[in-house]
C-alpha cells in the first residue's frame, strides 16, 4: 500500500467517524472539505504522478493512525519504562505521558502527548490534546528529572492543547506559558522530537530544548491548515493552500532555522515500519545526548537560550 493509498484509507475512516458525530453546520463544512481532499488524492492515484509530497499530504501523513505514537516509540527505544501520573494539583491527564526509562542503560525522563488508535482509546487520550493538568504534570516530571540529573527527552504529537471550558477555567494559557519559561531553565540536556503533529502552543508546551528534531513527515505549525483556511478564506476548502502557505513541513522548519535536524523515516514512511523508525530515532537521540553531555549545565542553558533567541525573520 502506498502512502497515498494509506492517506486515502485514513481520510475515508475520518469521514466515517465524523459522520457518526451529531450534525452541525461546521461539521458539514468540514466534511465537504475532507471529501474534496479525498477526491484530490484519488485523482493523484489515477494520474499516478510520483511528485514529492506537498505540505497537505504530509499533514495527512503526520496524522496517519498507523504512525508510531509516543508510547510505541517509548516501548521500542527505551527499557523499563515506568509511568508517573498526575499533576498534584487537579488530576492525571492521559493525553500526556510522563515517566522514567532506561536509554542505553542510562536513566532518562521521557514526556510526550499520546493519541489513541481506536475510538475508545482516542476518547480516553482526548485525541492527544492535553489539558492544563497535562502540561503541569509534564513540567513537574521534567523538574524531577532536573533535580536528579536525568536527561529529558520529549516526544511531540498533538493537534493542539484542548480548547474547552474546564481547560480555560484551569488556566490552559498559564500552564503552557509556565512550561515555556521553566523549560528554558532546566540544567540537564533536553532533546525535543516532533514525531507526528506539532500542533502550535500545545506542542510547544513541551518543546523548549537544546535540540529540536523532527521526523521527516512530521509537521509543526502555528495553526492547523483547516483552521487557517476557516479564518483567512472564511471556509474549510483551502486547507491545502493553507498547509503549503504555512510552511509546516520538517524541511520548511529546517530552512527557517527553527529546528536542528530532520530524522529520516524508513522507506514508505514511519507508519510502515515502527521498529526501523525507532532504530533511526534512537541513533540520533544517542548522538545528540552524547554531544550535549560534553557541555556544562550553565553553557547548555545559555546555548539553549541563544538558539531560541535567534528565531525569527524581520
Amino acid at each position: 500500500m502506498s502512502d497515498l493509498e494509506r492517506s486515502i484509507a485514513d481520510l475515508k475512516e475520518r469521514i466515517e467517524e465524523f459522520q457518526a458525530l451529531p450534525p452541525s453546520q461546521d461539521q458539514q463544512a468540514e466534511l465537504r472539505g475532507m471529501r474534496q481532499t479525498l477526491e484530490q488524492l484519488r485523482r493523484r492515484v489515477d494520474t499516478n504522478q510520483q511528485k514529492p509530497l506537498d505540505a497537505w499530504e504530509r499533514t495527512l501523513l503526520a496524522r496517519h493512525d498507523q504512525r508510531p505514537y509516543t508510547l510505541d516509540m517509548i516501548n521500542l527505544i527505551f527499557r523499563n519504562f515506568s509511568e508517573i501520573h498526575g499533576d498534584r494539583r487537579y488530576r492525571d491527564d492521559p493525553a500526556m505521558i510522563c515517566g522514567f526509562a532506561m536509554f542505553d542503560g542510562k536513566p532518562i525522563v521521557v514526556v510526550g502527548q499520546q493519541k489513541g488508535r481506536n475510538m475508545k482509546q482516542r476518547i480516553f487520550r482526548n485525541y492527544g490534546m492535553p489539558k492544563p493538568e497535562g502540561y503541569r504534570k509534564a513540567i513537574r516530571v521534567m523538574k524531577l528529572g532536573d533535580k536528579f540529573g536525568l536527561p529529558i527527552l520529549t516526544l511531540i504529537d498533538t493537534p493542539g492543547a484542548y480548547p474547552g471550558i474546564g481547560a480555560e477555567e484551569r488556566g490552559q494559557a498559564e500552564a503552557i506559558a509556565y512550561n515555556l519559561r521553566e523549560m528554558a531553565k532546566l540544567s540537564v540536556p533536553v532533546i525535543i522530537t516532533v514525531l507526528g503533529e506539532g500542533g502550535s502552543g500545545g506542542a510547544l508546551g513541551i518543546g523548549v530544548g537544546d535540540r529540536v528534531l523532527m521526523l521527516e513527515n512530521a509537521t509543526y505549525s502555528v495553526i492547523t491548515p483547516e483552521s487557517c483556511s476557516a479564518i483567512l478564506w472564511k471556509d474549510q476548502l483551502h486547507a491545502r493552500e493553507a498547509a503549503n502557505g504555512l510552511r509546516l513541513s520538517a524541511q520548511d522548519l529546517l530552512d527557517l532555522q527553527l529546528i536542528d535536524e530532520i530524522v529520516m523515516e524508513p522507506c514508505g514512511g514511519a507508519h510502515t515500519n515502527h521498529q526501523e523508525t525507532a532504530n533511526i530515532l534512537a541513533d540520533r537521540l544517542r548522538f545528540h545526548l552524547a554531544e550535549l553531555e560534553k557541555t556544562s549545565p550553565q553553557e547548555r542553558t545559555n546555548l539553549r537560550y541563544e538558539k531560541f533567541r535567534r528565531m525569527g525573520a524581520y
Binding site: 481547560a167 503552557i176 515555556l180 508546551g205 483567512l232 502557505g245 528565531m311
Partner: protein, 285 residues
C-alpha cells in the same frame, strides 16, 4: 486552535441611518449600556463610559501617553517591519495586508516598546496595538518584546507589557509560534535576575500571547471585562458544541478562577502600577 480571528458580526444593531447621520462625530451608543454617550465625555474619561464603566479599546500610543510621566517616552526600534519571510498569500498577500495596515494605523508593527518614567522610576514598557492585524505576534513583535525584556534586565529597570492580541500571526507560520518560546526563555532570565515584570492584559488577549508572556508576570493584572483566554470563544463553542456561559473568559471570570492578581480599572492603572512597583523593588547589590 485559533490565535487570531477577525471579529465580525458582534457589533450592536446600528441605529437607523438617519439617526446616525445626525449624531455622527458627536455621540455614540455605548457598547456596554446602550446609552447615548457624548464622545467628548469618553475622551476626558480615558475612553471609559461614564455611565456603565465600559472600557473601550484604545491605541498603544494613547495608553503610553496616559501611563507614563508627562506622557513622555523614547521609542526603540521604531522602524522594524515584517519582511514577509514566507511570502504568504491568502485572499490577499501578507505584504499588501501589511502595507494597508500601516497606512490605516500609522504603525509599522503590532507593538511599541519604549523607555520612560513612571512615578519618577525609569521603566521599560511594551504596548501592543490591536488594530495592527489583530495585535498578532509575528517575528517583529517577538523580537521587540524580547529586546524590551533584555533592556529591562540589563538596566535593571522594571518592565510592564500591555497585551492586546489575538495571538500568534498565521502569516509567518512557525516563526510566529517560536516567538512564544523566545520571549518566555528571555523572561526566564529576567525572572532569575529578580527584575520586576508586570503583565497588563487588555481586551482582547488570547492565544499564543496569553500562553506566553501575558501570563508570566510577577503580577498579572487586567482591565475590567477584558476577554482573556487560550482558545477563542468560537473555537471552544465549535469543539464542545454548546453555548458558553455568560462572562466566560472575561477578566472577572479569570480573577474568580485564580488566574489574575487583580482587575484594575483604567483610571486607577497608573497609580496601581506605581504602588505595585514600590513593593516589587529592583534589588541592587
Amino acid at each position: 486552535m485559533t490565535w487570531f480571528r477577525k471579529e465580525k458580526g458582534i457589533q450592536n444593531p446600528t441605529p437607523s441611518e438617519e439617526r446616525r447621520v445626525k449624531t455622527e462625530g458627536l455621540f455614540l451608543k455605548c457598547e456596554g449600556c446602550k446609552a447615548i454617550v457624548w464622545k467628548k465625555d469618553l475622551e476626558t474619561n480615558l475612553q471609559v463610559c461614564p455611565k456603565c464603566g465600559h472600557h473601550y479599546r484604545i491605541s498603544a500610543r494613547q495608553r503610553l501617553q496616559w501611563l507614563l510621566d508627562n506622557g513622555c517616552y523614547e521609542e526603540l526600534d521604531a522602524d522594524m517591519r515584517s519582511s514577509d519571510p514566507l511570502h504568504f498569500v491568502d485572499t490577499k498577500s501578507y505584504r499588501d495586508r501589511l502595507a494597508v495596515t500601516e497606512q490605516q494605523t500609522g504603525e509599522k508593527e503590532a507593538v511599541i516598546h519604549v523607555r520612560g518614567r513612571l512615578g519618577e522610576m525609569p521603566i521599560v514598557v511594551a504596548a501592543m496595538e490591536y488594530s495592527f492585524i489583530g495585535g498578532s505576534m509575528g517575528s517583529v513583535v517577538g523580537e521587540k518584546i524580547t529586546r524590551a525584556i533584555e533592556t529591562a534586565r540589563a538596566q535593571r529597570w522594571p518592565l510592564v507589557i500591555i497585551a492586546a492580541s489575538g495571538g500568534a500571526r498565521m502569516m509567518e507560520g512557525a516563526l510566529s509560534l517560536m516567538q512564544m518560546a523566545k520571549i518566555s526563555a528571555s523572561l526566564a532570565f529576567l525572572d532569575q535576575s529578580a527584575v520586576p515584570y508586570i503583565s497588563v492584559l487588555t481586551d482582547p488577549t488570547t492565544g499564543g500571547v496569553t500562553a506566553s508572556f501575558a501570563m508570566l508576570g510577577d503580577l498579572n493584572i487586567a482591565e475590567p471585562k477584558a476577554l482573556i483566554g487560550f482558545a477563542g470563544p468560537r473555537v471552544i463553542e465549535q469543539t464542545i458544541r454548546q453555548k458558553l456561559p455568560q462572562g466566560f473568559q472575561r477578566a472577572e471570570f479569570l480573577l474568580e478562577h485564580g488566574m489574575l492578581d487583580a482587575v484594575v480599572p483604567r483610571k486607577e492603572m497608573r497609580d496601581y502600577l506605581i504602588q505595585a512597583l514600590k513593593f516589587l523593588r529592583v534589588r541592587t547589590g
